[in-house]
């Protein structure tokens, strides 16, 4: 039976899985789709999660992206930056962020394209990526899976640490380095290949392994059998619609394509 769902909704449902087994921790999704994914996880597979309004409060219920109509969300705790840093360092957080580049080690970049001293393009700066990457679990989202994002070699400036032995004394990686999922417009990837190599975990409906590999600047691990990314259920779609009354999810991926590209 074919259900009508968008690629954004497929991604939200797939990305929500990142937090399923995390227990009672802070879930942070940066950008509309990761944020909606954390929100969906909180309302379905992991109600213990704490999420914020994106500013400085933990709220009892997830806060929709975009303009807020209706009553103020119920506040359940304080999440100012000092407290967020303390949470990061405690390890009780799992963030899904949207870097500009990622490499085969899972190292990511949001600082510069080109040379650091005189960049071709200056972006944000490393923000909290370095600290996040060595203190708590991290997942990544890419709206556009291309060889420009999934680069050959290393990213232009390593902002978040990855499984690159050359960057650690005696190759010993921090015990707290814990990279989980990479969710893109083509597939879900993880770090469960040999020595944490990036592996295709599931393919979005209508996408082949070759398409993913052709859009990746390094070799991906190909399991003998690759499942299809699970389609969102009717219940998940209803919750997503409720979580996103402003339909911000329709604006993230160009043309808001359907989730099932076998049909297209």
């Amino acid at each position: 039976m074919d259900r009508d769902y968008s690629l954004a909704e497929l991604i939200i449902a797939a990305a929500a899985e990142a937090w399923r087994h995390d227990g009672e921790i802070m879930a942070t999704g940066i950008g509309p789709l990761p944020r909606l994914a954390a929100s969906l996880a909180k309302l379905t597979c992991n109600p213990a999660l704490q999420t914020t309004d994106g500013e400085c409060w933990y709220t009892s219920q997830p806060v929709p992206p975009g303009p807020r109509n209706g009553p103020m969300p119920e506040i359940e705790g304080l999440a100012n930056y000092d407290r967020v840093f303390s949470t990061i360092w405690s390890g009780k957080r799992h963030a899904m962020v949207a870097p500009v580049q990622i490499d085969r080690f899972g190292q990511t970049n949001i600082s510069v394209i080109g040379n650091h001293a005189r960049p071709k393009a200056a972006m944000l700066g490393a923000r909290g990526y370095p600290g996040n990457s060595v203190h708590h679990p991290n997942s990544y989202f890419f709206a556009s899976h291309t060889p420009r994002a999934f680069v050959a070699g290393e990213v232009d400036y390593v902002c978040s640490a990855g499984y690159n032995p050359a960057r650690y004394r005696d190759g010993r990686m921090p015990a707290t380095l814990d990279l989980r999922l990479i969710v893109t417009d083509l597939a879900v990837l993880d770090f469960e290949g040999p020595a944490h190599a990036i592996r295709v975990r599931s393919l979005h409906p209508g996408i082949s392994f070759e398409q993913v590999q052709d859009n990746t600047g390094f070799a991906l691990i190909r399991p003998a059998h690759i499942p299809i990314t699970r389609e969102p259920t009717a219940e998940q779609l209803a919750i997503i619609a409720r979580l996103d009354p402003n339909q911000v999810r329709k604006t993230v991926l160009q043309g808001d394509p359907p989730g099932n590209r076998r049909a297209a």
């Binding site: 309004d53 994106g54 500013e55 400085c56 409060w57 992206p65 975009g66 303009p67 807020r68 304080l78 100012n80 930056y81 000092d82 840093f85 990061i88 360092w89 190292q107 600082s111 510069v112 650091h116 001293a117 005189r118 960049p119 071709k120 393009a121 200056a122 972006m123 944000l124 700066g125 490393a126 923000r127 909290g128 990526y129 370095p130 600290g131 990457s133 060595v134 203190h135 400036y157 390593v158 902002c159 978040s160 640490a161 990855g162 690159n164 960057r167 650690y168 004394r169 990686m173 921090p174 707290t176 380095l177």
Partner: protein, 286 residues
């Protein structure tokens, strides 16, 4: 004292920490006063927003110590980008490393140990060293050097004449550490009131730092504009757009400077739509 009195206390080549975070509670009236002064070669330490961009575009920076520069709703700060792409010297940090460097300076320590930066390019910058734990774990850690400031500039909601201050917003950011890391601290306040009016026993949690740390206070109504000073007023997104657009050409920046920087605080307030407009700006969504 006045804004210009504060600027007169600053000198070329100083290292200056600026409080607030991105588009929130930046001491912008003071930043504009510095932008129109002859000061130069400043090293700025900031959780950066338009403070960094405006000083960069005004040619005041020799070096920037930062973890990000962003206008939140406009993620990429165009004046910062232009300066960075033209080769502005930087020390790029993680947000928590910046905190840690200020904390070390506040404690008069040469450094504080941390895992932040391990495995990244951040710690390949020459200021960083590693240190091995002297305990049984023998873990190798990063030594984050103290970020000592000559001056910190902060914006608060209330102060009395002696520098007893209240920061009423729910997020104080790292203003306290900026102050403790600095030799001298100048504060702009929305209102200077009597000590009694601070109602300190009730508001104690909003008193981030004791007056012995505060060198001078200036009253500056809407002194954070176009950034926010919640809960009293919010980010001016329309003005932020004007500011972003000012980066499109030399002429547009000159026009922005002329209209909003080379002017008095009173005329600035009129140029941005008056106090009533700012006081009623809607809360932004993050």
């Amino acid at each position: 004292m006045s804004l210009d009195d504060v600027v007169a206390q600053l000198a070329d080549g100083m290292t200056i920490g600026i409080g607030g975070w991105a588009t929130r509670r930046k001491p912008m009236a003071l930043i504009r006063a510095i932008a129109r002064s002859p000061l130069r070669d400043l090293t700025i330490v900031s959780y950066g927003g338009p403070d960094v961009g405006m000083l960069a575009a005004s040619g005041k920076l020799r070096k920037l110590i930062f973890a990000f520069v962003s206008l939140d709703q406009y993620p990429l700060e165009p004046h910062f980008r232009a300066a960075r792409q033209a080769g502005l010297e930087v020390l790029e940090l993680d947000e928590g490393l910046l905190h840690w460097g200020l904390r070390a300076a506040a404690m008069k320590l040469p450094f504080l140990p941390t895992r932040i930066g391990i495995g990244t390019d951040i710690v390949k910058q020459p200021v960083f060293e590693t240190i091995v734990s002297p305990f049984d774990d023998r873990e190798e850690l990063i030594a984050m050097p103290a970020l000592k400031l000559d001056v910190a500039l902060l914006h608060v909601h209330r102060s009395d004449e002696r520098g007893n201050v209240l920061t009423l917003s729910p997020d104080p950011f790292f203003d306290e550490l900026m102050a403790r890391a600095a030799q001298r601290v100048f504060v702009t306040a929305e209102r200077i009131v009597s000590t009694a009016e601070l109602d300190m026993s009730r508001n104690a949690r909003f008193n981030l730092i004791e007056r012995t740390m505060i060198t001078g206070v200036v009253e500056a109504r809407f002194g954070a504009h176009p950034t926010s000073a919640a809960p009293e007023y919010h980010l001016d997104l329309a003005h932020l757009k004007t500011y972003v657009d000012s980066a499109t050409s030399t002429q547009s920046w000159a026009a922005y400077r002329e209209r909003f920087i080379e002017t008095t605080p009173e005329n600035y307030l009129a140029a941005v739509g008056g106090s009533e407009r700012i006081a009623t700006l809607p809360a932004p969504v993050y």
